[in-house]
């Protein structure tokens, strides 16, 4: 790390950030212990981190290699999924019925999108960057737009992954349920996009690390990897992240939007837990199970360590701070810390529940500071209402 930094500093200024970025990426992959995991994530990593496919300004094509599983006998094969399907039908709502007439003024300090301590301006000043009150508001607006943009990109991934998973899943009750999730995710894309488009007017590009996760699971042919990636990892992280913003925002439209989305997501994660618990316990060899355990861990780390709003850095501070300084700022600012931690509140108990928290991996999570969430309730023990109540 030290060596890299010194090397980078020898480069001409304009190259510096790019090369630093590549070193960071190389480091992530260098640290992966399981060659199978490296093989599963590596190609997506090159596409996302080196070639930045998500940021080329053109649509991205991702080949899919899964099997569509048909069943002409329509068995009723999973009672829990059938009950989720019934609940999902009753829980449908219309994105148009949110209070869209609400006037969102991102710069009104009386109705803040996110709290003032979200980014530590004292630390920023210690790096020699001083912001006036107006600029601080603009920075917080940028961060909010960044987070919501990543939510939106995640929802697009969820929409297509839900469709793939619906094709591939072996339970017919799961397919019925899956059809509602496709609708749910479509609605989430609708409402997040409408909020960003008509209220914030600022759409950030997809974060490279989020791109890697989505690319990796969309192109993986194994249905349970798609499930694990989307229903457990991305959705689980999103559920935590939505919760932080839901709890902290004073903007009534955003709050109402998230309240509705969170209730849908609670079902989605529940479905992931139900589908995978049995699969991982009864139908995989230990080798296969531990590969998934490692994959989940690497993805968790990727999001824990790298999901750092570098798009906002590029916009605001590329010439005023080093990437390392930005990373320090983001890792120590109370709001961002909260955001990046609470993402895991929902995820870790679910990994435990589906059997991806065996003693061999626990010390690694411990080192990453994520074991404190281990004893939380998993998604199958939580309804959407309880989840919201927990947040108050």
């Amino acid at each position: 790390m030290m060596f890299n930094e010194r090397l980078v500093n020898l480069l001409p200024g304009r190259m510096r950030n790019q090369v630093a970025q590549w070193f960071e990426a190389a480091e992530i992959f260098g640290e992966m212990r399981d060659p199978k995991v490296l093989a599963a994530i590596g190609p997506a990593g090159v596409r996302g981190l080196l070639l930045q496919r998500g940021k080329q300004g053109v649509p991205t094509q991702m080949p899919a290699a899964h099997q569509a599983h048909f069943d002409w006998r329509y068995p009723h094969d999973n009672a829990e999924m059938a009950s989720l399907y019934r609940r999902a039908k009753e829980g449908q709502w219309n994105g148009d019925s949110l209070p869209w007439h609400t006037d969102v003024d991102p710069f009104n300090p009386e109705v803040p999108l996110i709290p003032a301590d979200f980014i530590d301006t004292a630390k920023l000043a210690s790096f020699g960057v001083r912001l006036d009150a107006r600029e601080e508001l603009r920075l917080r607006y940028s961060l909010t737009a960044w987070m919501l943009s990543q939510f939106l990109h995640g929802e697009q991934g969820a929409l297509f992954a839900a469709a793939q998973v619906t094709e591939a899943v072996q339970f017919f009750d799961g397919k019925m349920y899956g059809s509602t999730q496709v609708m749910d995710e479509g609605r989430h894309v609708e409402v997040f996009h409408r909020y960003i488009d008509t209220k914030l007017n600022k759409l950030y590009q997809i974060n490279d690390n989020l791109y890697v996760v989505i690319d990796s699971l969309m192109t993986d042919g194994r249905w349970d990897m798609k499930f694990l990636g989307m229903q457990i990892m991305v959705e689980g992280l999103a559920l935590g992240a939505f919760g932080v913003i839901y709890k902290q925002t004073k903007e009534p439209l955003l709050k109402e939007l998230l309240r509705n989305v969170i209730q849908d997501e609670a079902r989605h994660v529940h479905y992931g837990v139900v589908a995978l618990r049995e699969q991982f316990r009864d139908h995989l060899t230990e080798r296969e199970r531990s590969e998934r355990e490692d994959w989940a861990y690497e993805v968790a780390l990727l999001m824990r360590n790298r999901f750092m709003a570098f798009e906002v850095y590029d916009e605001w501070f590329a010439h005023r701070l080093t990437r390392a300084q930005w990373r320090e700022l983001v890792s120590t600012s109370p709001g961002m810390m909260d955001f990046r931690h609470v993402m895991f509140v929902r995820l870790i108990p679910n990994l435990r529940e589906i059997g991806l928290m065996s003693p061999r991996i626990v010390p690694h999570y411990e080192r990453a500071g994520l074991m404190r969430y281990y004893h939380g309730r998993s998604a199958d023990q939580l309804t959407g209402e309880q989840l919201l109540a927990d947040l108050h």
Binding site: G13, R14, M15, N17, Q18, V19, Q21, L50, L51, Q52, R53, K55, Q56, G57, V58, Q61, D96, P99, W100, H101, T102, D103, D105, N108, E110, V111, A145, W146, S149, E190, H193, R194, I196, D197, T198, L200, N201, K202, L203, Y204, Q205, P252, E311, V312, D314, E315, A318
Partner: protein, 400 residues
Amino acid sequence: MVKRTPWIERAKGLVPARWRRDARMVLDGLAGRPPPPYWSTGTSSRAEAPGPSPLPGARSLRVAAVTRETPDAVSLTLVDLRGEAIVYRPGQFFTLALRLNGEVLRRAYSASLPMSEASPPGSVRVTIKRVAGGRVSQHLNERAGAGDVIDVFGPSGSFVVEGAPATLVLIGGGSGATPLLAIAYDALARLPDTRVVFLVGNRSTGDILFCDELAALADRHPGRFVLRHVLSHPPAEWGGGVGMLDAETTARELDALSMEGPAEYFVCGPGAMMDAVRGCLLGRAVEAGNIREERFSSPVHTAAEQPGGDVAVTATVGGRSYAVVNRAHETVLESALRQGAPMAFSCTMGGCGACRMKLREGAMTMEEPNCLSADERAQGYVLTCIGRATRACVLEADPS
């Protein structure tokens, strides 16, 4: 001379576009030209296209039925989108806000049936008479269709019967018959000791609104309901009254209806007719307190001056203060509702006074004419629904 393509151009043709884009990303990154971190948005139309969100404070009603009353008038039966009952008193009106050519036009239309007659139950029927060159009335007469969703405010207005007068005299011209019909239905059903006299003025037989309904009411209540049609252009054999509802004709018609006991008068119609009838009634020693009027004429509105930018407004409502920004393109009421202040309002078009507040500081322009009396203006009252702040304002909810 043969023109030769440089080798690099030829090579490009062999490499898929996708790879060239990948290579460009890497090279641009090294050259210090990273991809743009974000796009500015707000140009996509998906969100706006179908069903725009309701105006602040409005209720979305669906047109359940369209009934042609006369060649120049149409009735719309409106139901709540969520199935809730629409509650109002006979004589009250609703404000329909229509988006035409990117502009929101608000017009008042009175309920033409009381709640007890509404079909289906919980709905409201409004009747719109075409006005020559009128934007909303023409639109509704020509275009309104079942399934349309309309933003509606109200009910508003105090053109309602209080108590149980011995005689109720309803005098209406043209579309003025609308609230009077609702009042007549209601009084006949609810007040068994009240006699109802209905004097209706129109141009010709084809213009008479609710002709059959009125005849049916007369049949049903032979002793208690007196119906008298007056036409300015009557057909050859016509048994009713003749003339415009001016002072003279009105006096003649009232003389013919030997009325005993005290009466309350409800008058509704075009401005000129209303002035004439009022003069006539006062001349006949009717107390001003017994004359109730609803003016349909919405004379040419002078829009309030549009201030240049955002203006700060502090509104005290229910003992709490709300800091609001009055946006340049909005009324104070619209801005305040959007920003979460629990403002009082009803018609949203300066006609009912529900949004009246006291202006403690600052300045506001208002559309004219409106329902504020000279007295109220002198005391510093304003109507937030048609007001725009020109300087920072401090407003206080009406204690009365």
